[in-house]
Symmetry: C2
Subunit: 330 residues, 2 copies
DNA sequence: CTGAAAGCGCTAACAC
DNA sequence: GTGTTAGCGCTTTCAG
């Protein structure tokens, strides 16, 4: 099942041709050869189960069939789902993922990216807000390898893009809250706001222009930290720009002996798996996270296959997942 | 910051020696050279910021400084935390991670492993119950690369090991339940029981030899599925062999309009981050998951540095994290 | 002590 | 059409 290591030379010998011929034929240039030779080579390849060594191939400047992935926090359900989507699609296309966890730390991310670049990855999929534009540009320009960024501070020119319809997501959340009769609403926004998150906010503000905006860290802790203020201000309903934030709010409420949704309605964003398992189940704006990862990977593979094709941008739809964390105001 | 790509040749030229000399000196054989030459070479290396190309080096049969990681489901909090620990420790030591998601699918895992092997990883860290022993042996024997398995069906001979004190964890859970006055208890065990999970069970059974054992899938769904039976049997307290299972039970209880812990006490295993955020917060046996990953990575790095050192086994302690899901029986 | 030379497995010009 | 040759960047005998 897993022979020692069959080289191109053996295939050549077996087929009675030179290694160059084998290389050519096996790399798409088959039509320039005598059909008979092609036959022999392919037969030999199959019989020996030969597969080109990615590493050797890479040394001569070809693809390594490896993609570098950078996420800030794999531990976060959003990112792990994303990575899963990327990884599965990539593996399916014969690529493999090199994963790095940036930890929301610019320096570490840069190091990771460099390490990845040095490893000769064919492209990067970067989903991390704290990576600086300059570093990104450097990678992109100097290394000339395609990059796809997700969840980024700014958009990189000259790259493909996948995103979800963030503006609409924010709008959906607002409309729902309004429909449920809420007027005194707040929105909790992260310090480190990425463009996509800003879009959500903008969508939300269309319906609630003067919603109270609470800044905090984009994490469970951040959500927890904001509860006191929410309670002080007698807010009725809060829009958490991520489910993580919402989970933190849940905890904060419980610590204050208050109930969701009786004392405060909360609506989240992302639709992470745990939404269904917290009590009450979290009403949230569902993004197709896994799909987002798959699409990013797909775009990357396509780009690598045809580097000159025009850049594309794909927007994935979002929808409201109504569960139990928003009550109708009587 | 990221020079074009400085090769060994440039360093050699700069130092006024041959590339062979540079290679030797930079690879530990410095003492066999004239101190002056060593000086010059190191100076040149530093000035140019030279670093050997991992790929080229690998081609000549050296290390690739890359470790393959296989997990069944990165989306699962346990595994993502584990991966984070591995990844961080590895990056710290100059290694990089190639991640594959097995999806609890033997065939896919095998493919991933092969792909990883072909990529020339220096070693494998495998945390996946469904990988077969034969495949594992093959990797280990044919490729002769070190493997560390976690959460495995069986233990591989001739490898280092890290594990947590599963037996004690089960015992701890049982003792706590007993202390809280429960007698009619159940334990929900996964179909696909790995050795470590069996140890937990054994520890638990020491205190509750005739606990009701419910078999199900090791997942949230599995937990949910088992609730009806739990209720039918009028169980007072249940030990879920993983937090995932416990979360499923929470949902199942809610769907039956029953309360945790009033109608059923539940204790989990793992201490995943969400334990604190569900309602009630989940009492569980805490394993140092992140640390487990770090240790596995550390062991791997050490093994690679000194392949002949004796195999070691590290056992990490577990402890009870008491929260709100177990009530004292009056 | 140090350097020349032979590859590792593969691809790409350029001859034949 | 197909083989020859020259590397990619590095390590490693093996002479000198």
């Amino acid at each position: 099942m897993c022979a020692k290591k069959v080289t191109i030379r053996e295939v050549a010998k077996r087929a009675g041709v030179s290694i160059a011929t084998v290389s050519q034929i096996l790399n798409g240039k088959a039509m320039k050869f005598d059909p008979l030779t092609v036959q022999k080579v392919q037969a030999a390849r199959d019989e020996l189960g030969y597969e080109a060594d990615h590493l050797a191939r890479q040394m001569v400047g070809k693809q390594s069939k490896t993609i570098g992935i950078l996420v800030p926090e794999i531990t976060n359900s959003f990112f792990s789902t994303l990575v899963k989507g990327i990884e599965e699609e990539l593996l399916h296309s014969g690529y493999i993922s090199m994963l790095c966890n940036g930890g929301f730390n610019g320096a570490k991310e840069e190091k990771a990216l460099l390490e990845l670049a040095q490893r000769g990855v064919d492209g990067f999929i970067i989903a991390s807000p704290s990576i600086s534009d300059e570093v990104l540009k450097e990678i992109l320009q100097i290394k000339k390898r395609p990059v796809i960024v997700l969840d980024q501070k700014t958009t990189v020119e000259r790259s493909d893009e996948v995103a979800t319809d963030d503006f609409n997501g924010g709008l959906l959340a607002a409309q729902y809250l309004k429909k449920m009769g809420h007027t005194k609403v707040a929105v909790v926004v992260p310090d480190l706001a990425t463009v996509n998150i800003m879009h959500r906010l903008q969508g939300f503000l269309v319906e609630f222009p003067q919603a109270l905006q609470l800044k905090t860290e984009l994490s469970k802790n951040g959500g927890q930290a904001v509860v006191a203020e929410l309670l002080d201000q007698k807010i009725e309903a809060v829009f958490a720009l991520s489910d993580e934030l919402a989970f933190g709010i849940y905890l904060g409420m419980r610590q204050n002996d208050k109930s969701v949704p009786d004392d405060l309605s909360v609506i989240g964003y992302d639709d992470v798996e745990m939404c269904r398992y917290v009590t009450p189940a979290l009403t949230t704006v569902a993004q197709p996270i896994y799909e987002l990862g798959k699409q990013a990977a797909d775009l990357m593979v396509k780009r690598l296959a045809d580097p000159t094709s025009p850049y594309v941008k794909r927007i994935l739809p979002v929808e409201l997942a109504i569960r139990g964390s928003v009550k109708v105001k009587i």
